[in-house]
């Protein structure tokens, strides 16, 4: 089975300053990859490189058959803090913007139906005519998740979907993702390592370079070996996280 995304020796960044250097990674069908690492370490840049928003300086990104030329789309949930909350747009229009458009201007009936079904599934159908700025953080994340799912993606990329979200929704969100993961590969960036560890299947530590951990348990030894300045995660009777001292 060829991988959905295969990144080979990728170096990329902004204004000729590399943020990621010599990164290699494979994402396969039904993977659930958690991406963790310090702020400014290049987590978002990695996502943007996969999405084609940041061009590689060196190395390349190969896509599996389904994703070549975007036969199947990549669903993307960006960081909500970049969204203009005063923009005059309704929730329903935001969700509909998730469709891939080929010149058709009016949303097709099936698109509208699909959008309504997704909103209903997330329990926010009743607010579909509200302006995006009137929503709470959790509602907004749900809307953007609906948008990302509208065009049946093969791969779902989420950038910190747990910001501005209450604990209850966070739990719901991860359960939802676990259900979606049966058919869709997911890449999830989070600053909350403790929460994602029990849901993701594999973990990538990104801090300028990338270290792949083929399980969702990261031990002290692994961290020492890879020199990853992040938290240690283990599963135990009581879920707990141990913070390691940062070296920089």
């Amino acid at each position: 089975m060829e991988p959905l995304v295969k990144i080979e020796n990728l170096t990329c960044g902004y204004d000729k300053v590399p943020v990621l250097e010599n990164v290699s990674l494979e994402v396969n069908e039904c993977d659930f990859l958690g991406v963790i690492g310090p702020n400014g370490g290049g987590k978002t840049t990695l996502l943007k490189a996969i999405l084609g928003l940041v061009k590689p300086m060196k190395g390349k990104i190969k896509f599996g058959y389904d994703l070549q030329g975007r036969k199947k789309p990549i669903g993307y949930l960006p960081q909500v803090r970049h969204i203009d909350k005063k923009f005059p747009i309704t929730v329903f229009d935001v969700v509909l913007s998730g469709s891939i458009m080929t010149g058709n201007n009016r949303p097709k009936a099936e698109e509208r139906k699909k959008a309504e079904a997704l909103l209903a599934e997330m329990g926010i159908l009743d607010i579909r005519h509200k302006a995006i700025g009137e929503l709470s953080g959790g509602q907004m994340q749900r809307v953007f998740l609906c948008r990302a799912l509208l065009s049946d993606p093969k791969l779902l990329i989420l950038d910190e979907p747990d910001t501005f979200v209450d604990n209850r929704f966070e739990g719901e969100l991860y359960e939802k993702l676990r259900a979606l993961n049966k058919e869709i590969a997911i890449i999830l960036v989070s600053h909350d390592v403790g929460t994602i560890s029990s849901y993701v299947k594999t973990i990538a530590c990104v801090n300028n370079s990338l270290h792949y951990h083929p399980s969702n348990i990261i031990t002290q030894e692994q961290l020492e070996g890879y020199n990853c300045p992040i938290q240690v995660i283990t599963h135990g009777e009581i879920p707990h996280t141990v913070l390691k001292y940062h070296q920089h």
């Binding site: 999405l51 084609g52 923009f87 913007s97 509200k130």
Partner: protein
């Protein structure tokens, strides 16, 4: 009331009425986009820079609107170049082109031999002196803008709301941005005769602010802005005619008062 109906018998007033309709539609649509994307200041820069072109046209004796288009497009590109290539902060680049255009305009007009009687009508607008050929240009601009926004409303809206997401969905974001920037420049220039360079920002923002009180839906915002722009301009036009005050200023004043009243109405609802 009879006095108002009688006005429509005059040729100059029929033209002013048509100019009002065209200005309301083009400014209602383009203004909604400008306000939603928060590019009011860029639009102001382009507008004021176009004065340089008007001055140059006076000096060399060609159509002032052509000069204005030339400078408007030049300023739109110049702002991009200054910001992206020369790495000057965007708001500073805008201010540089804004003032440079005005300065060049003043120099060119000063160098023009003889008296330049029309100058004030470009700065502050005079809707009562709009010519037939100007009306034709405005009409064609309206056809282009209305068709473009009808055919591509979804793409325009999605790109404006979340450019990055639109890119991931494969929309031609840069192409749309350039096309709309061109339409903004043309809208500004062709509506200069209605309210003038100095006041045109008002037609692009005040009706939108009024409309935004009642709707957060982009499509409705466009329609409602056009309606408010039309009402404000018509009422302003009558006030200007009957009180014998400059039309451009009367229109802006009416638009602002209208916003105040609507804001009050909304508070009561």
């Amino acid at each position: 009331m009879n006095a108002i109906i009688e006005l429509f018998n005059y040729d100059f007033f029929q033209k002013a009425f048509l100019a009002t309709v065209f200005a309301s539609i083009s400014c209602g649509i383009i203004g909604s986009y400008i306000v939603a994307r928060r590019i009011v200041f860029i639009s102001g820069g382009i507008t004021h820079a176009s004065f340089g072109g008007i001055g140059l046209a006076f000096l060399l004796g060609f159509n002032p609107l052509l000069g204005a288009v030339l400078f408007a497009v030049l300023a739109a590109m110049g702002i991009q170049v200054f910001t992206k290539i020369a790495e000057i902060r965007e708001d500073s680049s805008i201010a540089i082109w804004w003032s440079l255009g005005m300065a060049l305009g003043i120099i060119f007009v000063f160098m023009t031999p003889g008296y330049t009687p029309n100058l004030m009508s470009y700065l502050f607008g005079n809707i009562l002196t709009v010519t037939s050929s100007e009306l034709w240009w405005m009409f064609m601009l309206n056809v282009v803008i209305v068709s473009f926004f009808t055919l591509f409303l979804r793409q325009i809206l999605y790109i404006a709301f979340d450019e990055e997401y639109a890119r991931t969905a494969g929309l031609p974001v840069n192409l749309f941005n350039y096309l709309i920037m061109t339409l903004i420049a043309l809208t500004v220039v062709l509506n200069i005769r209605v309210v003038g360079i100095i006041l045109i920002l008002s037609l692009l923002t005040i009706p939108q602010a009024s409309a935004n009180l009642f709707t957060k839906d982009f499509k409705r915002l466009i329609v409602l802005s056009s309606v408010f722009a039309f009402l404000g301009t018509m009422i302003g036009l009558f006030i200007s005619y009957f009180l014998d005050i400059p039309s451009g200023a009367a229109i802006i004043f009416t638009l602002v008062v209208m916003f105040g009243v609507l804001r009050g109405v909304k508070a009561l609802l």
